[in-house]
Amino acid sequence: MDLKVLRATIKKEFQIRLRAYPVDFMLGCILTSFYTVFGAWMMYHYFFGKRLATDFSNLTGTSDYMSYAIVGSLVYMFVVRTCLNVSRRLITELREGTLESLMLAPFKRTSYFVGNMILQTIMTLGETAIAMVIGVFFGLKIHDFCFWKFVIALILSIYGFFGLSLILGCVMIYTRDTYISQNTLFTAIFLVCGITFPKEYLPGILQFVGNIIPVTDCLTLMRADFLGGLTNGRFIYIAMRIFLVGSVYVFTGFPLLKQLEKIALEKMEG
């Protein structure tokens, strides 16, 4: 990996964020997380008077629904923010008219995307921290926190989400659309990955779709870090699964993106 390109990408992207885009986009994502948590809070406290279904604790290993839903919404926010920004990078370059110059420059794909991902992860961690403070007011409680497990889950999540972003980026650059593809993916993730309810409630086919999206497993690990309810053996098994699925995404995403860039450049004037 070319560290010079990596550093330059981070610097360039940070300056773009600072100078060219308003902060309301970031605010919008924090608000989305707030609305999800608020909706869950209303249902739990007011609609159903804190009465949970009998199988909830068996399926999730916790009876703290609010913490379960808040951790889900925080991870969802993390996915949306990282995927959105990394996958949109090339098409944004195309729209802003800089894709051609980027391709002419000594441009290393791996460093460029990893640079984008690092910057986005740092920024998103800040946003997640703000959303977490809001979550505390709605009843987020940490039951069983293990620092090392959290670090492992975080690194694997970033890896998995990075792979997902590359595939989404491929779809975007091929269809030249961001609005429909990103929103369809995010709405689908919200349904199949168990953000506010256990995925076991879903029909088999949707559970299968959920299993091939790394978000589901990352969420299981993150929940285990904060709420417990997962044995070490199971933790390692799920971690390995994320690594495998993430690798499939990453190693399919890069070559595919390279091919699609060529098509994008050909179609650029069309």
Binding site: D24, T32, Y35, Y44, F47, F48, I180, T187
Partner: protein, 269 residues
């Protein structure tokens, strides 16, 4: 008046062709509301549904309750989106032609909202068919009530769209309206959780959204077999909203025009 309707129909036909030229519109029109509906339905499974504090909601009709919510939501959402799309007229430079033409501003705005009401009607018909197909026995419809409530619901949606369109005419930087109105509408107008059980402060916020009243009336006549007298209050409030929105739209159009004349720039005002 003849010209008013002519402009209105022409604008709605233009916008309809504009939206449906791209087949991906069907994804946002059908797939997104359907996926969101499913996510909400499964998130109810976490709870003991029979323990709901609302008398007319049970395990049997919770799906219908939610479908009505999403049906209304998709309808209002397409109206909000139409207003957002209208801001593209400014970016593509066609807004100045509209202003230079003798067309009535109100007719153009209503035409734009009307085209999205059509889109909404299609989505609504599909959702409605799903309700009837799967849950005939859990419905308890008062036909006269329903026939009265639906046109009022359509008028409220149309004028809500017209008002938002007028707001988007004022400035380039109105995207925040979209952020403020899109998701809070889903939460506060009772799409997933009935407004009647909201805490006081949340109920105050819910009063802002016309969808709140529309959903309340629709659910009462479809699930609780309520007649006109039972939903009288909601109907009166809806009629007041129609009048308020109509005047607010006219005033906004006037302010926009005045502002434009003052700044003297048709594109960048």
């Amino acid at each position: 008046m003849k010209y008013f309707f002519k402009v209105m129909l022409a604008e709605s036909w233009k916008q309809h062709r504009n939206y449906f030229s791209n087949k991906l519109i069907y994804v946002s029109l059908f797939l997104w509301p359907f996926l969101s509906f499913m996510a909400s339905y499964y998130s109810y499974k976490v709870f003991d549904i029979e323990g709901s504090v609302v008398s007319y909601i049970s395990g049997g009709n919770i799906m219908v309750f939610l479908l009505i919510g999403y049906m209304g939501m998709s309808f209002f959402r397409s109206v909000v989106q139409s207003a957002w799309h209208f801001s593209f007229e400014r970016q593509s430079g066609t807004l100045e032609y509209i202003y230079l033409s003798p067309a009535s501003r109100m007719a153009v705005i209503l035409g734009n909202a009307l085209s999205s009401v059509f889109e909404g009607s299609v989505a609504m018909a599909v959702f409605g068919a799903l309700i009837i197909l799967y849950n005939k026995e859990s419905l308890s419809i008062n036909v006269i009530g329903l026939v009265t409530v639906i046109p009022i619901f359509l008028c409220v949606a149309l004028l809500w769209g017209a008002f938002l369109n007028a707001c988007f005419l004022y400035s380039r930087d109105t995207d925040f309206l979209f952020t403020v109105l899109e998701e809070p509408m889903e939460i506060f107008s009772g799409v997933k959780v009935p407004v009647s059980i909201f805490p006081g402060w949340a109920r105050v916020i819910s009063c802002i959204f016309p969808l709140t009243y529309a959903l309340e009336a629709l659910r009462q006549v479809m699930l609780n077999s309520a007649d006109i007298s039972s939903v009288k209050n909601v109907v009166i409030i809806s009629l007041v909203i129609i009048l308020v929105l109509l005047s607010a739209t006219l005033i906004t159009i006037h302010i926009v025009e005045k502002h434009m004349r003052k700044t003297g720039n048709v594109i960048l005002f």
